[in-house]
Structure formats: C-alpha cells, structure tokens
C-alpha cells in the first residue's frame, strides 16, 4: 500500500509529500464514501496540521488523474471513493444515508442503446436509487 502510493505519485509526476501520503493513505483505507470534511477529520486524526485546503486540492488532483470518483448523492457536498475496477451504481438508504453499491449489465446496455438512438455517445452516467427498507414499519412521506 505504501508502495502503491509511491508508485502512483511517480506515475503522475506528483511529489510524495507528508500530507499527500497521509491523505492518500486515508483514501485507500476508506471503503465508504466520505466527504471532504470527513476525510479531513480522518487525516487530522493522524496529522493535525494538515489543512482542509490541502485535502480539497488532493482529492481534485486524484480525481483528475482518475484515481478517485466523485459523487453528490443529493446532499450538496461531494463524496469520494477510489475508482473501482468495475463500474457500479448506488443505492442510497434515505433513512440512514448509507450507500450500497450494485452493478447491472442490463441497465448499462439499455443506457448505451438509448444514447445511441438519440445520436449520442455516453461520456459518463450516474444512477442513484434512493430507497428505504422494505420492513413493515413503513414511514410516512
């Protein structure tokens, strides 16, 4: 993991600095979809002097390089995850805010088809399904 951080920086011509190492470490250790403030919390737990601005700059850099993906899940602020090797979309539990990943070849295929029918090629896409548990204690609207 240390090694891959070193390699990534080398590959993209980025300096392997202290803050950057820690931020990347935190990113790669996170399996959820933290926002920048949460990342900053995790980072400053390790090294308290790292500024929020640096976290912003780092996630932007890594996103440009394709290392991270950014999502927005309705709540206005951006959340990040390391780019998965297989594309997936998200189920968002509206009661807890937790995110579940899923894949559907079929939906992907249909999207392609729709875009093509309209004379377009897909650049990217975003499918978010906001859900609530199926239990009997159904909530109000």
């Amino acid at each position: 993991m240390e090694q891959s951080i070193t390699d990534l920086c080398k590959e993209f011509g980025l300096r392997l600095t202290g803050p950057r190492r820690i931020i990347m470490q935190v990113l790669f250790d996170s399996s959820d979809h933290p926002d920048v403030v949460e990342l900053h919390r995790r980072v400053t737990a390790i090294e308290p002097t790292i500024s929020l601005a640096t976290v912003y700059r780092t996630v932007n850099l890594l996103r440009e390089k394709g290392v991270l993906e950014r999502h927005t899940f309705g709540d206005g602020r951006a959340r990040y995850e390391t780019t998965p090797r297989e594309h997936h979309d998200h189920l968002i539990n509206v009661e807890t805010g937790s995110v579940i990943e899923f894949q559907s070849e079929e939906i992907e295929r249909l999207q392609e088809e729709i875009a093509r029918k309209h004379g377009f090629a897909i650049v990217s896409h975003k499918l978010e399904i906001y859900v609530r548990p199926l239990k009997r204690g159904r909530g109000r609207t």
Copy 2:
C-alpha cells in the same frame, strides 16, 4: 391555468399572493429546466420587484408539495421542472448543456428488481446520462 394556480394554492393552504402567482405562472410556462437565477430573470421581466429570495422560497415550497422536481446535472446549481405525469430521466449533452428527456420502462423495471433484491423499496431515483454527439462521416452535424 390561472385557475389551476388558484386551486393549487387552495389545496396546499398557501396564500395566493402577487409574487407567488407570477412565479408559478413562469414555472408552468417553462418547458425547459431553468435554474433559480434564470427563473428570477423571467419573473422580474414581468414584475421587477420580486426578489430572488422569494423565488427560492417558492420553488422550495412547491418542491415539498410535489409540484416541482429539482435536478442538479453536475453544474452545482439546482434546476427545476414541473413534476411530469410520467416519470422520465435525462440525457445531458456535455458540449452544450442542453437536456433531453427520455423514458425507459425497462430500466425502471430493472431498478425495482435491484432494490427489491437488496430488501428496499424505491423512494425515488435519478438517472443522468452525460453524452456527446456521435460523429458521423457525412449527413447532418
């Protein structure tokens, strides 16, 4: 149309005020997906004294009531459309920012299936396909 605005206000217990009437008029007359500033432009073309805050308050109110839908299409600001009677999703042309609506029963069905498999019921969902025009050797551009 005047009538339906009156009815809507009555139905939701909202006062039918001057600004509100004009803002709703503009909303119902818009077939695109304007953002709040654009709405304010259209509204103040009719009645220049209406403030931006009132437009914000009105769209929020109407969204809570289910009269409007809000979208975010990546660019940071919210855009609105009157709730369509038939649900549709969006193709966003990344080169022009223009939005095309589409429907796919099939995708809807697959989403239901996925949610159910994970033990959830769908509250809402959002599918945005970011596209660019297909280049072709000849024919229209």
